[in-house]
């Protein structure tokens, strides 16, 4: 590594070798990360015939948006189903997100502020939930949902996602509440505000970034969930995208360009949401991990 610096006497720092190692590593990692996504996009622009070529057309000779127009066209059966799945996913994810915030905000606030006995135990219980795989809960939840009459409804998914999203939501929000000085609330209380008023008008506005971050996590988690949706829903008109997509293409498994277009469309909402609100997203994790 020192040889590299000897070649560049003008270099300000003697650690250029490491810097170059880092750059090369990042470049390779970027290729590894991005290549599958690029290939997905390229394939989605091909016709079924063009995709089935060997050697593959690295760039389609006749790029077409036909796969996308077919998926987004409600007049044909493929588009109709796709749009239904898309709508179902959107509805389930949005409802889950709203409910998760409503339930997690008071809980996180309590974990952050109050000193009631058992709160540590409770908090660990909340965190440990995520140690257990979905499959353990699958059979009993399936029976529970059958008993509640929720099988084949979106209610079963919302209820399940809500529970499984809560530990993370509470933890994230707690991190934000911990960083809001308690003196602000005390000042409000001295000025005559009730505990609830102090919470609503002082703490809530300050924790908006935390709520946004939590909402993104909940939404993405619900949007991407597969195993419960796969088990609880058998009616086609109820299916969410991850499950619907599978059903759709297993019948004519050769339609890879169509599948890639559908996969792309399925990824767009979460990736856009993530890129736009990235700073909240990353900050939330950072706040939790770096707290002193």
């Amino acid at each position: 590594m020192t040889i590299a610096t000897a070649d560049h006497p003008v270099s300000r720092r003697p650690i250029d070798g490491w810097r170059w190692a880092g750059r090369i590593f990042l470049t390779l990692l970027l290729i590894f990360t991005v290549m599958p996504m690029i290939w997905m996009l390229i394939t989605s622009l091909k016709t079924g015939f063009a995709a089935m070529q060997y050697p593959p057309q690295w760039w389609p000779t006749e790029p077409t948006l036909g796969n996308y127009t077919r998926l987004l066209d409600p007049t044909n059966s493929v588009g109709q189903e796709f749009l239904r799945y898309f709508w179902n996913s959107l509805w389930v994810s949005t409802l889950t997100t709203i409910l998760a915030i409503v339930v997690a905000v008071p809980a996180a606030y309590a974990f952050s502020r109050f000193r009631f006995p058992g709160r540590t135990v409770l908090f660990f219980a909340v965190l440990l939930r995520n140690m257990f795989p979905a499959v353990i809960f699958l059979v009993p939840l399936f029976i529970l949902m059958r008993w509640l009459g929720l099988v084949n409804t979106h209610g079963s998914l919302v209820l399940t996602y809500l529970t499984f999203g809560l530990p993370l939501a509470i933890w994230l929000l707690k991190g934000f509440y911990d960083n809001i000085p308690i003196q602000l609330e005390q000042a409000a209380r001295i000025d005559g505000a009730t505990r609830l008023q102090a919470f609503l008008f002082i703490v809530m506005p300050l924790s908006t970034p935390g709520i946004i971050a939590t909402a993104i996590y909940s939404f993405i988690g619900a949007w991407n969930e597969y195993i419960y949706a796969y088990t609880f829903l058998t009616r086609h008109d109820q299916m969410t995208l991850p499950v619907g997509i599978q059903r759709f293409f297993s019948e004519n498994a050769t339609d890879w360009p169509g599948l890639m277009a559908a996969t792309f469309m399925m990824s767009v909402p979460v990736v856009v949401l993530f890129l736009v609100l990235q700073k909240y997203f990353v900050r939330a994790l950072t706040e939790g991990a770096v707290k002193h």
Partner: protein, 322 residues
């Protein structure tokens, strides 16, 4: 985004002595209003978590009819457990699960660590690069599985064709339909999906490394490696432990990638615990055996969970002592 997201390191403010001396019940009563805030969360969790755990343990002791009409279940004690432990496939699946978990965790962590260190320095395009590297973690595992299945396609797959063009192979390789290459191929997909989780956790961890300490080490003549090993790495130990444990748990519990890409095949070579349990329950309707399998898995997770909690509380203690 799977269950690996909750990298929780939180500090617990130490309780005061007076707090400890007061009677538990009277304290609980005095603070009764506080519980109201947690109650909604608690109720939902009880219904959807505590009940299923009880139910699974109960079910594992019965022979159940395929219809899941539970009136007809027969108590058979621990027979389901002996059935599992004495079956040949159990040990094969366990071995595959261990390989899957070990290599996925190892490489996801190493790639994440490398990326976090390389991204720690300011440079043009750093934010963009970080965002791009995080995308695999954000997209669904279902999408990832389909895209990689297409990349691995035995006749028209891009990876096989590229290897032929670069002269690395004579003909396209059949990655996922071959019992020797299927599991490693799936591990690559899994690493692709989750290394950025390790990256973001460690990037957060790197911010706790005091800048002054690094500069002091530099002044004292420590080289880049020595600074990493003696200054940076010790500060990352806590975050690393938590990250590795969370990755292990997530990998042990993986389902989507093997299920969609191979369904556990070919010839069971990518079957891991979760796909096996799913197959037993929803494929072969052997609910009791699947429940017993789940209880075993549950015990393993509890063990990992114990270390997880210990890693978390140790961090707290260190901070409290500092």
């Amino acid at each position: 985004m799977s269950g690996v997201t909750e990298g929780a390191i939180f500090t617990d403010r130490p309780r005061t002595g007076a707090d400890k001396r007061a009677g538990l019940l009277s304290r609980m009563w005095k603070q009764r209003a506080d519980y109201l805030y947690v109650l909604p969360a608690l109720i939902v969790m009880m219904v959807v978590i505590a009940y299923p755990i009880y139910y699974t343990i109960d079910l594992s002791l019965f022979r159940t009819p395929a219809s899941l009409q539970l009136r007809d279940k027969i108590f058979i004690g621990l027979d389901n457990y002996t059935t599992i432990l004495s079956s040949a496939s159990f040990w094969k699946v366990t071995w595959q699960t261990l390989i899957w978990t070990f290599f996925s965790t190892l490489f996801a962590f190493l790639l994440g660590l490398g990326a976090a260190l390389a991204l720690h320095r300011e440079f043009v395009g750093r934010g963009l690069l970080r965002a791009l590297l995080l995308i695999p973690w954000v997209v669904s595992a279902v999408a990832a599985s389909y895209v990689w299945k297409w990349l691995y396609h035995s006749d028209f797959g891009a990876i096989g064709a590229m290897m032929v063009q670069l002269g690395l192979a004579d003909q396209p390789i059949n990655f996922v339909d071959n019992i020797n290459t299927a599991l490693p191929s799936l591990i690559v997909v899994n690493i692709w999906k989750e290394f950025s989780f390790a990256m973001i956790m460690l990037m957060a961890g790197l911010q706790t490394v005091p800048e002054q300490l690094l500069r002091a080490a530099k002044v004292d003549g420590a080289n880049a490696w020595q600074r990493f090993w003696h200054v940076t790495f010790p500060h990352l130990a806590g975050v690393s432990t938590v990250t590795i444990l969370l990755l292990m748990v997530a990998n042990f519990n993986s389902f989507i990638i093997p299920w969609i890409m191979t369904g556990g095949g070919p010839a069971g070579s990518t079957d891991i615990w979760i796909t096996q349990i799913y197959q037993l329950a929803f494929g072969r309707q052997r609910w009791g055996v699947a429940a017993a399998y789940s209880v075993l898995l549950f015990l393993i997770m509890m063990t990992l969970g114990y270390f997880y909690v210990r890693a978390l509380t140790q961090g707290d203690k260190e901070r409290a002592g500092a």
